[in-house]
């Protein structure tokens, strides 16, 4: 499988204090890579480096390589980069407007105006995010009236509507109940055929359930990366063992 995203010697500091130290890892096409680790271990920062949202933060310095399709993310046109690499946030954030508007937001930015074409994209994306059946009768009501789990699936549909290649999820289920979580995990497993996933999660069990490979971050360092089964049953590093078995973090 080809490498989709690769970091080589990636260092990030904000106002002089290091947040990521010497990270080297690759994300393969069509895999689900889980990134686990306690709070403040740099997981989210890593995602925000990939789509360059971190550049909105003053005082940030990045060194080392971070490539999407063998080209540094900084050399990509920023809007193209963000269309190719979608991101789902921990808190679902529907944009003000209707369900339809939310999903059609990205395509409209790309200049799709034809209503029938938009409707197709919206339906396809909502189906892919397993939300279509629940909202098909109220596409034009406010997105804010959906439940938390529905809002998060709406955000997934919104991201898929842009037709990204990589979908990054930053603790997508942290505020959701087990049923909504299961629905989102099912969506990920189905969508893996056509997308590459990076899943940042605090929930170790979730990583074990859905991912192909797992990376363990601690204090801004990559401690261990391997097939998920191996990380959870035979970790090589003692710190990984302590974390996945619940002794630290």
């Amino acid at each position: 499988m080809p490498e989709k995203i690769s970091a080589r010697g990636l260092n990030v500091a904000v106002h002089g204090s290091p947040v990521l130290r010497d990270i080297s890892l690759s994300v393969m096409a069509n895999e689900i890579l889980a990134i686990i680790g306690p709070a403040h271990s740099g997981k989210t920062t890593f995602l925000r480096c990939i789509n360059r949202l971190i550049e909105n933060q003053p005082g940030f310095v990045r060194t080392g390589e971070l490539l999407l399709d063998n080209r540094d993310v900084r050399q990509w046109d920023i809007d193209t980069l963000r269309r190719r690499v979608g991101m789902i946030f921990a808190t679902p954030i529907p944009l003000p407007g209707t369900i339809f508007d939310n999903v059609a937001y990205g395509p409209r930015l790309k200049g799709v105006r034809n209503m029938r074409r938009l409707a197709e994209i919206v339906e396809k994306s909502l189906r892919a995010a397993f939300l279509w059946d629940e909202v098909k009768d109220r596409l034009f009501s406010s997105a804010l009236r959906l439940s938390g789990g529905q809002q998060q699936r709406l955000c997934i549909a919104r991201t898929l509507a842009v037709e990204p290649e990589v979908v990054m999820m930053d603790e997508p289920c942290s505020g959701l109940d087990p049923i909504s979580t299961a629905q989102i995990e099912q969506a990920m497993r189905e969508l893996k055929q056509s997308y590459t996933f990076i899943l940042v999660t605090n929930n170790v069990k979730q990583a074990a359930r859905v991912s192909d490979r797992t990376a363990f971050f601690l204090s801004g360092e990559l401690v261990e990366l391997g097939p998920t089964a191996q990380i959870f049953t035979a970790p090589r590093d003692k710190r990984t063992d302590d974390y996945v078995s619940g002794r630290i973090g």
Binding site: N56, D79, K110
Partner: protein, 279 residues
């Protein structure tokens, strides 16, 4: 015991503000309403002839004058103010916002007579030379008022824009939207009620402004036919004639005040309601 006294004292002070508002309203209505009843509401606000010493009390030219001046002020001040707000909220470096925002708010503290003075000395001659006409005009008043409402527009709409959660912005950026697309499709939309409220409050301020307008508007009793024509507003009318008015003439000026009072009360209520709409 002492606590109670302080509490009661503060309550009285607070109520006195409300009380004076009520007294003013009551006074204006008591003085003005009888004339409106005598002349008839329709003749009062829809007749174009104002000759109060000879029994004609039509304030339509003044109503239209106020509207024309306010509309121009909204176009200048609203446009400029919203552009400035966008710049301050999204594109200006942080250190410059720290300098610019207080400076803009300082604009609100400049006495209106100073604005009027600047208008007479700079703006009116400029309009006369560039566009012709007397210079004292709807245009001059509109521009001066536009500058005067800038702090209201910028302060309130900037607060509304800054109150939009950062997550909205990031959510939109992460979908590949540019900063500009994010600003007008997401942030402006989310801050819409606050921005509308800022414009309505600014409108109230423009309708009510007197001194600066008297100095640059020309004050002719005509329905303005072009932006270069002189105009008299409701407020100017009261201020200009109150000094020598008596009898029905004086009551007619109070009645003009009633009309103004109603316009401003309606504008403020709309502003309050739109702001409250924001959850």
């Amino acid at each position: 015991m002492k606590e109670k006294l302080i509490e009661k004292g503060l309550l009285i002070v607070a109520l006195s503000a409300l009380g004076s508002l009520l007294l003013i309203a009551l006074f204006i209505f008591i003085e003005g309403m009888p004339l409106i009843v005598k002349v008839g509401l329709k003749d009062f606000i829809a007749s174009t002839h104002w000759a109060p010493t000879r029994g004609s009390f039509g304030i339509l030219p003044m109503i239209l004058g106020s509207l024309a001046v306010t509309l121009l002020a909204l176009i200048f001040g609203g446009g400029l103010g919203l552009a400035g707000t966008m710049f301050l909220a999204e594109f200006a470096p942080r250190w410059s916002v720290r300098i610019l925002k207080p400076l803009i708010e300082l604009l609100a503290g400049i006495p209106s007579v100073v604005y009027g003075f600047m208008g007479v000395v700079v703006l009116v001659p400029w309009i006369r030379q560039t566009f012709g006409g007397p210079g004292f005009s709807v245009l001059a008043a509109g521009i001066i008022l536009g500058i005067m409402i800038l702090p209201t527009v910028i302060a309130i709409s900037l607060d509304a824009l800054n109150a939009v959660p950062l997550s909205y912005k990031e959510g939109s950026l992460a979908l590949g939207a540019t900063r500009w697309q994010t600003l007008y499709r997401v942030q402006f939309r989310a801050a819409r009620s606050g921005i509308i409220a800022s414009l309505i409050l600014a409108m109230g301020r423009a309708v009510g402004e007197t001194m600066a307008v008297i100095m640059v508007a020309g004050n002719a009793l005509l329905i303005p036919t072009s932006p270069l024509a002189p105009v008299r507003t409701l407020t100017s009318n009261i201020a200009l004639e109150m000094g020598y008015a008596a009898g029905d003439h004086q009551r007619a000026l109070f009645a003009t005040g009633v009309v103004l009072f109603v316009i401003i009360a309606v504008l403020n209520t709309i502003a309050l309601l739109t702001m409250r709409e924001r959850k």
